[in-house]
């Protein structure tokens, strides 16, 4: 590994350059964080102030007084239901596909990958029409089903990549011991991929939590999720800047925790299309 070594000075310079890049990338986040804990008089100072007396008033106000706690509740209900439904059926399908021989499984997997290409706009229009006919606009089921639909291909692919790592000898050993297909799956193989199951569940949760287009079209006053609420609150009115900055930072916090937890698995999950 001597080959990758640079002289110590170059290493330091490289490190500093990359730190500068990371700092630049984080500037918008830090700036919003500062805005959310500034009094308006500091927030709108020119030149921008970096030193001030912080306040948490806006954080309290937006979650308690402005009803963001309710939107958080909607987001949690919708995301959790989506994950339960999508991951349970997706995991079974992924197991089936990983154990099937021949071209059928490969065909289905490629078909699912093609689904990832589908513009969401193409799906949101019929979903809106169907929800309208069935009087399901502004209900949890409409939103959950829509999210399951866009989650399925991703869930199956990710779980499939975990199942493919488990040797089929395990299944055969189970079969020899007289386990039926379901027992083999549930008692033998599933416990082995449990870490992968958690990873998949968390990625699906993130996908549901971040979703905007479907939520914008399918939810209403009763089921509005956090992204729709914050987008409506927007950055239009100066009086609301501190409040919406506080909400935006609050929405981001669970995601930071999530990232710490999943950092080892980011490549696999993201390459298969998590998040966006």
């Amino acid at each position: 590994m001597m080959t990758r070594r640079l002289p110590r000075l170059s290493q330091m310079l490289l490190f500093l350059a990359l730190c500068a890049f990371a700092a630049a990338m984080l500037t918008p986040v830090v700036w919003s964080l500062l805005t959310s804990i500034k009094q308006p008089i500091d927030a709108f100072a020119i030149p921008p102030k970096w030193i001030f007396t912080p306040t948490l008033d806006f954080h309290r106000a937006v979650w308690v007084d402005k009803g963001f706690a309710g939107f958080l509740f909607n987001s949690v209900v919708i995301s959790v239901c989506t994950v339960c439904l999508s991951v349970s059926i997706g995991t079974m399908a992924a197991y089936g596909l990983s154990r099937m021989r021949g071209n059928a499984a490969r065909g289905i997997l490629i078909g699912l990958l093609t689904m990832r290409m589908f513009p969401h706009m193409l799906l949101v229009i019929p979903f809106f029409m169907l929800a309208k006919f069935l009087n399901l606009i502004d209900t949890y089921p409409a939103m959950v089903l829509a999210l399951v639909a866009i989650n399925q291909p991703f869930t199956i692919w990710l779980m499939h990549s975990f199942f493919a790592d488990v040797p089929t000898e395990i299944d055969e050993a189970g079969a020899i011991d007289g386990a039926n297909e379901w027992q083999t799956f549930y008692r033998l193989v599933l416990p082995i991929v449990r870490p992968g199951l958690w990873v998949t569940a968390l990625f699906s949760l993130l996908l549901a939590y971040n979703e905007f287009l479907f939520a914008l079209v399918l939810t209403g006053p009763h089921t509005k999720t956090l992204p729709v609420a914050i987008a409506e609150y927007g950055g239009e009115d100066l009086n609301y800047w501190s409040l919406s900055a506080a909400a935006a930072i609050g929405i981001m916090l669970p995601i930071v925790a999530f990232m710490m937890f999943l950092q080892r698995h980011l490549v696999r999950g993201l390459a298969l299309g998590a998040v966006k």
Binding site: A105, P126, E169, L270
Partner: protein
């Protein structure tokens, strides 16, 4: 029993399928295992696997039929009608919507804008992403922390990310504007000027997706065969030469895969533009996705919007196919 769930082995399983590699979907089929005791007549018959496996696909299959296949078919059906949501007026027009769209200048200019925005942002992301990934590859300490820190913009809720950027570029009170004012420069209206608005939209995309490119390319660079690099070094190749002549060609399938992903995403790029400019000023940042949204939910022309969705899909399919055939296949022939 330990199972490797690290990402080194397959940075993305999807890419190998895309390149048409034989995926190990049926690893270790029962028949391949040699009997342990060859002297004894073995009557153990290999269990015909795959008998009831389709049952596992059933729940997902049924649900997908109702919420994925049926809605898509319905969209296709809707695209054949002139359907106004507000008045409820609807009549069959066949391919009329498609013909309409192909003669619609707003469609062509939104497509042109999409290509322009996607092209610039992917070029920017790729250039910066490659430089940063290579930097991380050469760095011997702090890589993990740096990677994690710069990754944040990619993973936060897109709407929130767009708002963060809005507070940078907002006129007068935004960070950039107020810094410029403090320095005595009169700032342009970043979100209100047609050219600047496009620049901001490109920067916003780059801000969110460069970390993704960095992560994938960094993982890819680490899979390159070390002995090849050492051999090149013995022959006197410099660092950049090694990067461009050896490392990049060997992760080429990964690069094609990432580009394909970005093209697909680009035609779904909605949240950020909706929050930042909402397609404005005028139609300066109206991409094909924004145009579809406007057609469906502002002008209520459901039929025409569905037709535009179908056209978008065809465009994405064509672009991806071209990308994979042109760049993905060369490797085998040359």
């Amino acid at each position: 029993m330990t199972v490797s769930v690290t990402n080194e082995k397959t940075p993305c399983g999807a890419s190998s399928v895309l390149r048409g590699e034989k995926q190990d979907l049926s690893a270790g089929a029962a028949g391949d295992i040699p009997p342990r005791n060859t002297s004894a007549p073995v009557v153990r018959r290999p269990r015909p696997r795959g008998r009831k496996l389709w049952l596992f696909l059933l729940p997902s299959g049924i649900v997908s039929l109702f919420i994925l296949v049926y809605p898509l078919a319905y969209a296709l059906y809707l695209s054949l009608f002139s359907y106004y949501l507000d008045t409820g007026a609807s009549h069959f027009v066949g391919l009329g919507n498609y013909v309409d769209l192909l003669g619609d200048t707003r469609f062509w200019s939104s497509l042109e804008r999409t290509v322009l925005i996607v092209g610039s942002s992917v070029a920017l992301e790729f250039g910066v992403g490659l430089a940063v990934a290579y930097g991380l590859y050469r760095l011997t300490f702090g890589v993990r922390t740096l990677n994690l820190l710069m990754f944040l913009p990619h993973i936060i809720t897109p709407v929130v990310a767009a708002l963060f950027l809005k507070w940078i570029f907002a006129p007068r009170w935004g960070l950039l504007s107020s810094l410029l004012i403090a320095a005595g420069i009169f700032p342009p209206d970043f979100l209100g000027d047609p050219i600047w608005a496009r620049v901001v939209v490109v920067l916003a995309d780059a801000w969110q997706f460069t970390p993704f490119i960095v992560l994938v390319l960094y993982a890819g660079l680490n899979t390159v065969d070390q002995s090849q690099i050492e051999a090149a070094q013995l022959d006197g190749a410099g660092g950049l030469q090694i990067l461009f002549r050896i490392m990049l060609p060997s992760i080429r399938p990964l690069i094609v895969f990432v580009l394909a992903m970005r093209i697909m995403d680009a035609f779904r790029y909605f949240d950020t533009i909706y929050v930042l400019t909402s397609g404005g000023p005028g139609t300066a940042t109206e991409t094909i996705t924004m145009y579809t949204y406007s057609l469906a939910f502002r002008l209520f022309q459901i039929g025409k919007a569905s037709a535009l969705g179908v056209l978008t899909l065809l465009i994405v399919l064509a672009l991806t196919a071209i990308l994979i055939f042109v760049f993905g296949r060369n490797k085998e022939t040359s």
